[in-house]
Amino acid sequence: MNSVVVSGSLRNRLVLTLIGGAAVLALILFVVVRNYAVLVAQQGQDRILIASATSMLDSATIRDGAVELDLPYSAFSMLSTAADDRVFYAILQDGTLLSGYEELTFSDAQAFQFDRIRGSDVRKISASRILIGANLRTEIQIVLAQTQDALSETLDQISRNAALLGVGFFALAVGLSFWATSATIGQLGKLTTSVTRRGPQDLSPFTKPVPREMAPLVKSLNSLMGRLDQSLRQSEDFIAEAAHRVRTPLATVRSYAEATLQRVDKEENREAMRSMVKAIDESSRAAGQLLDHAMITFRADHLERDEIDIVDLARDLVQRMTPIAEMRDLSLLLLGDPRVQYSCDPVLIQNAVRNLIDNAMKYGPAESAIEITVTGEPVPRITVCDHGPGFPIHEIETLTARFQRGANAANTIGSGLGLTIARDVAIAHGGRIDLTNQPEGGACVTLSL
């Protein structure tokens, strides 16, 4: 299994970006709402201070050449707040204090100021009015200051609400970003699942609808698989073609070699010819198996099922192979159920079983029997057992791989394709192949369908 180099996580990156964005937005929301509240609350306080100062200025009159200022009760009454804010004021005439708090200074330039009076932060306003009498022109100035306890209580409350709003917005955004992320990544997950679920031979293109952003990926994947499929097919075709072309001349060479063997008398020459025939047999058989394998690979992709009796099929094979078996002093025994109906590709099954019997005949010692058992329950099953050396225990798992041969097969003809063919046939039918050793010696191969 190739390990993939992982660099970061799309999901984390997406979630972090969205949550980070939401956090920034929530913060901005909070700051904007709070600043706006500060502005509005301050404007409110300023308006009341103006109203109060105006009503005080309005009460100023000139009587008998002297300024009189009759403070209206409402001027301070309107400054009552829930937080009992302190109030300071000063009334000045042309800069001279008439009454009130002397620490308040009048400012011509700035009507509204923040100041600190008697240990409290205050909002201070300065207002003035020109009074004109018979022979008097004078300016009455009012400085009015109020602490900001009620204002800050209001602001605290608004800040709390704004903070709640921000947190709520953030929580909602976090939930949404998780949902959006998993919905997006989910599409990738779906694609991954459908790739993983595919059979090993399935190289057909993906046809399920995918989001537009993933279309290029799926398109490249499909095109990659198309090319892969094509190149696989080409190499299978090439192998089949090559095997076919090699097998026919080999048969000719073999018959020449047989004929020559009959005519040669010298023992060492005969030995050489026998080796030659043996090698030709081996090549021919390998070519046959390569052909079989190519054929199976092709047919497994387009399985054609027929309802047949497997016992019939096995009996037919046994009959056909008995002459070859007898040449090696082996006997073939067909055991098991009298009749097993099964819907399958008969050509493939025949090929698989023939390869298994072929294998058994190679490893079975002379004067022994090869048992072919066909059973129908619980699943159709064909077992081929010999009385040879059995499989090397530690290789049982790997023997079905292509061109893999047992450690004890060094001096036996074979390509290593036999078990692979049987396995591919089993898988194509949705079954499997099991290799076991008999307790009294000998190998067993079970083809479960």
Binding site: L71, F76, S77, S80, V87, G100
Partner: protein, 335 residues
Amino acid sequence: MRYLVALGLIFLCHAGWAQEWEDRQVFNDTGATTSLRIISSTDTDLFAPLIEAFVARHPDVAIEYLVTGTADIDRRFRAAPEAFDIAISSAMDLQLKLTNDGYALALENVSHPAWAEWRQSLFAFTSEPAAIVINRAAFEGLPIPRSRQELIEALRARPDVFRGRVGTYDVRQSGLGYLFATQDARASETFWRLMEVMGGLDVRLYCCSGEMIDDLTEGKIAVAYNVLGSYADARVESQSILEIVLPSDFPTTMMRTAFVSGASGEPEAAERFIQFLIAFQSNRADGTQTLPPLQERDNGADRASIALEPALITFLDTLKRNKFISEWENALIQN
């Protein structure tokens, strides 16, 4: 020389402390570890039961109770805020101005309805109406006036009977008298007509409710206007001579207030005292209080009750005060 100056200063200070108090009494002198100085406008005999109950509960606290007039409290307190732990006065405007000016300590552990406290520093603990107190003998066989308007008519009807025999506060001396007068003037023009009438009858002016009631009881005066009902009440129980009339046209109700000095050396004990004071005054079933309890303000029912709000400082403005006093003098002092 320097020593002489120091000695002189010490002497001056002592002279300052030795100045006259209307009354001075020390409670729980023995065995106390802390002591509270209370400057108050409330007569000792009205306040003593409360202080005695307090020292019984808190034997570690001694209390020096100093009585003087409301205007004097304001003056002395401003001169030496560190010399007093608690200031109690019936002049709400002066008390509120002291608080506004930053002389009062905010108490975190006192819970009181919002209308009866200001800045969590100034706490009201009584509701006391201003009353017309009448010597019944002067109205024998005649209906007793129930409102300011009726009082004006009664005074006008028999000027010879009442000449020199009507009394009210001298608002120039008494902070409470000034508060009552300004609130009356704010409420109705009737006040000024009454003042005119009383001025025409050679009104006698008093510094305090106590003296007015004394003179009423002795028959020196027949009618006193804007007397503290609570003071009259305290005596009416034993004497059937006086009739207390709460004017039916509009009532003027004052709340006695207390605050802890921001410069107090014993803020913890002082806060305990305020807590006790409030609890004592709101526990009506007790029957031991000599001061009227704080009345719940039902909506609209007691509107004329003077509210604890910054507007109270309006009439303390120098210009405003001068104007008011001169108008008052014009009305009342006619010869």
